[in-house]
């Protein structure tokens, strides 16, 4: 089956005074219908810019300089602005980290939801749009949606606001949702609720979901595939269990070792030394080389290309974890 979204060798660069900043540099991945893919990385790894690039939301001085973004076979990159405009919010929707910033504070939830429907399909009557909005709110677990629709965003709590933005994203039954840190600002029990709703919705409506986060544990719980990004590149991607169970890239391995877990209480955490390098001044070889415990000579000379491994894993590394040291 053809994937809903097929990103091939995407490159998004920012042309700044200090030089060219390669925020996304050769990213490729696919998402099938109903699939949840996790995109994990630390700050500055380019994970959010990847999401923005797909929706065409990268502002100057940033520009997509190469690659293809195939959405149901059509390249979004070459689409005229007006068509892209139609696509956003109908076929592809986005959920942001901070719902307070995405909801209009001076309009009722109802108004914003009806607007989102009618913009994309003017033939829908107001009553029908209201009906659909109410159903969407009910679907994401908001009790008494009829009354809550009349409320303003500030009258909702953080978790409720995030549910409203999920409901708005679902309104036009998109084929793809891009969720950028949707639960990072939420409390543990509320995060559990939101993840639960998203899981249910994706299963029910066959919506593909790209879940962008810094939290490996969250995507480990929901996604079928995980992509790990570092300094603008996906260094390792693969099926959930394989990647968490036996990471091949030293960075993935280090990241997993950094997460406190009850099995290793009290022991020092395995830490990755050093800090993320500046994207303006990347080394010629592998960007992770200076922090890597597995680095060999080849790492400092050229950046490793993507290799397809036996278990559908794609890896960028010369000397993977578990391989004999040579």
């Amino acid at each position: 089956m053809a994937p809903i979204l097929d990103v091939r060798n995407l490159q998004t660069h920012f042309f700044t005074k200090g030089g060219v900043l390669k925020a996304v540099d050769g990213v490729s991945f696919e998402i099938g219908a109903g699939e949840i893919v996790g995109l994990v990385g630390e700050s500055g790894s380019g994970k959010s810019i990847t999401g923005f690039s797909i929706l065409g939301l990268v502002d100057a001085p940033g520009r997509i300089v190469g690659g293809e973004i195939l959405f149901k076979g059509k390249d979004l990159k070459t689409l005229p602005v007006a068509e892209m405009q139609k696509m956003r919010g109908s076929s592809i929707a986005m959920i942001f980290q901070d719902p307070m910033m995405t909801l209009n504070p001076v309009l009722r939830i109802e108004t914003q939801m009806i607007e989102a429907i009618q913009t994309h399909d003017s033939s829908v009557s107001k009553d029908e749009a209201r009906q659909r909005s109410r159903d969407a709110l009910g679907l994401v677990g908001i009790s008494s949606p009829e009354e809550r629709m009349r409320a303003y965003p500030h009258q909702f709590s953080g978790g409720m606001r995030q549910r409203v933005s999920i409901a708005i994203a679902m309104l036009n039954r998109p084929d793809l949702i891009i969720a950028d840190e949707p639960t990072t600002a939420l409390d543990v029990t509320i995060q559990g609720q939101v993840i639960h709703e998203m899981q249910k919705l994706c299963k029910k409506t066959k919506t593909a979901l790209l879940w962008i986060t810094h939290d490996l544990a969250v995507v480990a719980g929901i996604s079928s595939r995980i992509c790990v990004m570092y300094a603008g590149r996906i260094v390792e991607q693969g099926p959930n269990e394989a990647l968490i169970g036996s990471p091949m890239h030293p960075y993935t391995n280090g990241l997993l070792g950094s997460v406190p877990s009850q099995n290793r209480r009290g022991e020092p955490l395995q830490q990755i030394e050093g800090i993320v390098p500046s994207l303006l001044d990347l080394p010629p070889g592998c960007a992770f080389e200076n922090r890597c415990s597995h680095a060999v000579d080849a790492c400092s000379q050229s950046a490793p290309d993507e290799m397809v491994m036996a278990d559908q894993r794609i890896l960028r590394c010369f000397n993977r974890v578990g391989q004999d040291q040579t």
Binding site: V188, Q193, I195, H196, A220
Partner: protein
């Protein structure tokens, strides 16, 4: 053994006083009342020397307010915070310096217009712990303790990354030789790999300098990793305190169970979430009786009316839940 820190029946209210209009309208016979938030409501606990006590809870549970009261930044409205130093030798730092706080945001907790050397030495010089002529040497020693080198001395906070800045914050707290460090979400703002570095630093410093921590966090993974004992708070009250093994294996309070179940974990992998329902109520208008009853699966009439007391269910394991009485 005498506790290092004894917090007895501490409460803290925040009152939003009436504005002029409301006062005027009250004169005319309308009923406008002051809004009172009980941020911390009758909380007692003890911390012993060398212990790491984790305080965990969701937003609005009062954990930060409690931390500030322990550190002496906020006075409590009722109750007492008593600190009893383990080191009473001559020339040791005075008691009120022995509790230091490390904050969440390493960007706003350092003065952007001061060099690192001045940030680190301001307090010890002011309190007469070191002479002004010893500043450089002293600051260097502090930086070494937290894993930074001498090149940091003459730089300003904005020239460092988040993790490095947090290290400077820790060095500043260590500069007055404290015994108790209150860490309020101290690693929450950092990236995962940097979090591990700073967490390891905390563990190392504890061993090297015989420190006691009050570690406040919403991240249960972090709390499980570092704490010896855990205090769970919900809407201003302690609902459960337990040694770490009991907290992980036999949580008693329904809220603690819900919290532990809600945490995404690497070990479990793919799974279906079954979250606890309902929102966290507003602390302006908390539910009656047990604060957790509107979200609790086991709630009864009694939970709605009577506030459960914190009782010892097994040694050192306290829980505030009516379910424990009926058995």
């Amino acid at each position: 053994m005498k506790p290092l820190l004894k917090v007895s029946n501490v409460s803290r209210d925040f009152i939003k006083s009436l504005d002029l209009v409301a006062k005027f309208l009250n004169r005319l016979g309308q009923d406008h009342r002051e809004e009172i938030v009980h941020a911390v409501d009758d909380v007692s606990f003890e911390v012993f020397n060398g212990e790491v006590v984790g305080i965990v809870g969701e937003s609005g549970c009062g954990k930060s307010t409690l931390g500030k009261m322990v550190a002496g930044i906020l006075p409590p409205t009722a109750g007492q915070v008593h600190f009893d130093s383990a080191n009473k030798s001559e020339g040791a730092t005075p008691d009120d310096l022995k509790t230091q706080m490390i904050f969440q945001d390493p960007f706003s907790s350092l003065n952007p217009r001061k060099k690192v050397i001045d940030i680190l030495t301001e307090a010890p010089v002011h309190h007469g712990l070191i002479k002004a002529s010893e500043k450089r040497e002293f600051a260097l020693d502090m930086l070494n303790r937290v894993g930074l080198d001498s090149s940091a001395l003459g730089r300003y906070p904005h020239q460092f990354s988040g993790g490095q800045r947090q290290r400077i914050g820790i060095a500043r707290a260590l500069a007055v030789s404290p015994e108790l460090l209150v860490c309020d979400e101290s690693i929450a703002a950092l990236d995962v790999s940097i979090q591990a570095q700073v967490l390891n630093l905390f563990v190392k410093l504890k061993q090297d300098y015989d420190l006691t921590y009050l570690f406040i966090s919403h991240d249960i993974g972090v709390i499980e990793h570092i704490s010896d004992r855990v205090i769970v708070m919900y809407l201003g009250r302690i609902v459960e305190t337990a040694p770490i093994e009991a907290f992980v294996k036999q949580p008693n309070h329904p809220y603690t169970k819900a919290l532990l179940e809600g945490v995404p974990r690497l070990e479990i992998g793919h799974r279906n979430y079954e979250p606890v329902s309902g929102e966290i109520p507003s602390p302006l208008d908390p539910p009656t009786g047990c604060h957790f009853h509107p979200r609790c699966k086991h709630s009864s009439e009694r939970c709605k009316a009577v506030r459960p007391a914190l009782v010892e269910i097994t040694p050192d394991h306290f829980s505030a839940c009516h379910l424990n009485d009926s058995e």
